[in-house]
């Protein structure tokens, strides 16, 4: 007996491929339905990148791009727990992040937004979850920035996340947003997520994570697909 569809991709949680308000989907979304296949080793295995794949400053974006001083902007801590669909921690698993600087400018060469680069901020980092599935970064709160999707379009403040998880099936690339951002309800990338699932992308402010006199704390927990197949296995 093959695995049932439990722990497949939950399409009630993920954005559709074709979402007209996000104009770039028009020529890039497949027009034919995805073809369902049974999971085999090709889908249930995946690369492992553990502690050996991160350097000492990789999880501190306030330090890993310094040239002649500290980066400008509001220092923050971003932390959270990575779990599967049964709430079990995803241990020793790679989390990669990238983001704009405090002015809303990416280091990326194609970013033409007329906002200053920060010579002391790169905006990229990575870390590995611990024994409890917890990751933690120091960074600068990213700024909002305009984009060309529609007139007067602005992306809300966000941090990009990339997670490998235990298998190819658990792979996830997503974006973390900040609580109370007025741009969220205008952003087609955020609004592409089904309404009931959107708030899972919004971090929460935490005074407990906040370090006195140093940095505000935000919590962003992440649920990777997986775990639910176990009870259904043959």
């Amino acid at each position: 007996m093959t695995l049932r569809t439990a722990s497949g991709r939950d399409w009630a949680s993920h954005p559709p491929l074709n979402y007209p308000p996000y104009r770039s989907t028009a020529l890039r979304a497949p027009t034919k339905p995805l073809i369902p296949i049974a999971r085999s080793l090709s889908e249930t295995t995946g690369p492992i990148y553990g502690d050996e794949s991160v350097g000492p400053l990789d999880n501190d974006l306030t330090r890993n791009g310094r040239r002649n001083g500290e980066p400008l902007g509001e220092r923050i801590i971003v932390t959270g727990r990575v779990v599967d669909e049964l709430g079990r921690p995803i241990r020793h698993s790679l989390v990669e992040v990238w983001q704009a600087n405090a002015a809303g400018r990416y280091v990326h060469k194609v970013d033409q937004h007329d906002a200053p680069l920060d010579p002391n901020f790169l905006g990229g980092g990575r870390c590995v979850t611990d024994e409890d599935g917890i990751y933690r970064f120091y960074t600068i709160k990213p700024g909002a920035y305009p984009w060309g999707n529609h007139p007067n379009a602005w992306r809300p403040n966000h941090i990009h996340f990339s997670l490998l998880g235990p298998s190819i099936a658990s792979r996830l690339v997503t974006q973390m947003y900040f609580p109370g951002d007025p741009l969220l309800t205008l952003d087609p990338i955020y609004l592409g997520v089904p309404a009931e699932a959107r708030e899972r992308l919004v971090s929460t402010f935490s005074i407990d994570v906040t370090e006195p006199g140093f940095a505000l704390g935000y919590v962003f927990d992440i649920v990777l697909r997986g775990g639910r197949e176990t009870p259904f296995e043959r």
């Binding site: 890039r28 497949p30 296949i37 905006g123 990009h160």
Partner: protein, 187 residues
């Protein structure tokens, strides 16, 4: 406790210095690139392809990841681990290029194949496809995954083998739309 999956979001146009920094000549590191097998590895092959949009234009800001077994069909091999990652923004023709070994069959009647994970601006949730090989025609005919694909679309999953002066090259273009639209999987 059952919890719900965190929604996917697009990788966006600016992933290069986060996920593929060295390839794009940024100062920070990256975990994986296009070299899964160096030139000392016996049986090394090159896989070259493009990602084409609905107008047939090459997409210069896609990111392609591959996951594969070794030449004996085993996952989790040492060294490059069988995982590769390439952005399409550093090649003049917007190609991705992987140097690797051709995987062996993993069993279960499956023909040799690589798993592909595809990300890009304009793609809110990543896509999965597979690369099979044109010189495995017989094994491909018996493959249970290819059998689930309508016969007239199977060719979109098969890389074309070419013998060049520099070794064996497999060509595999990914068509997001149109005639020959690539098959994408859900599992």
């Amino acid at each position: 406790m059952v919890t719900k999956q965190t929604p996917s979001q697009t990788v966006g146009p600016y992933f290069a210095y986060g996920l593929t920094a060295q390839q794009y000549h940024y100062p920070n590191g990256q975990i994986a690139d296009g070299t899964l097998a160096d030139d000392k590895m016996p049986g090394r092959v090159r896989i070259i392809g493009r990602v084409l949009d609905g107008d047939g234009q090459p997409i210069p800001d896609a990111m392609v990841e591959i996951w594969q077994a070794d030449s004996d069909g085993r996952y989790g091999w040492a060294g490059a681990r069988g995982f590769g990652r390439q952005g399409t923004g550093t090649d003049a023709e917007s190609r991705f290029i992987f140097d690797t070994v051709k995987p062996g069959s993993i069993g279960g009647g499956q023909a040799p194949h690589l798993t592909v994970i595809l990300f890009m601006r304009g793609l809110l949730t990543h896509l999965y496809t597979r690369i099979y090989f044109s010189d495995d025609a017989e094994a491909n005919r018996a493959d249970p995954v290819l059998a689930a694909v309508p016969a007239d679309r199977r060719h979109s999953l098969v890389a074309r083998r070419e013998e060049t002066a520099n070794g064996i090259v497999y060509h595999f273009d990914i068509h997001m739309q149109g005639e020959g639209e690539t098959v994408f999987f859900d599992f």
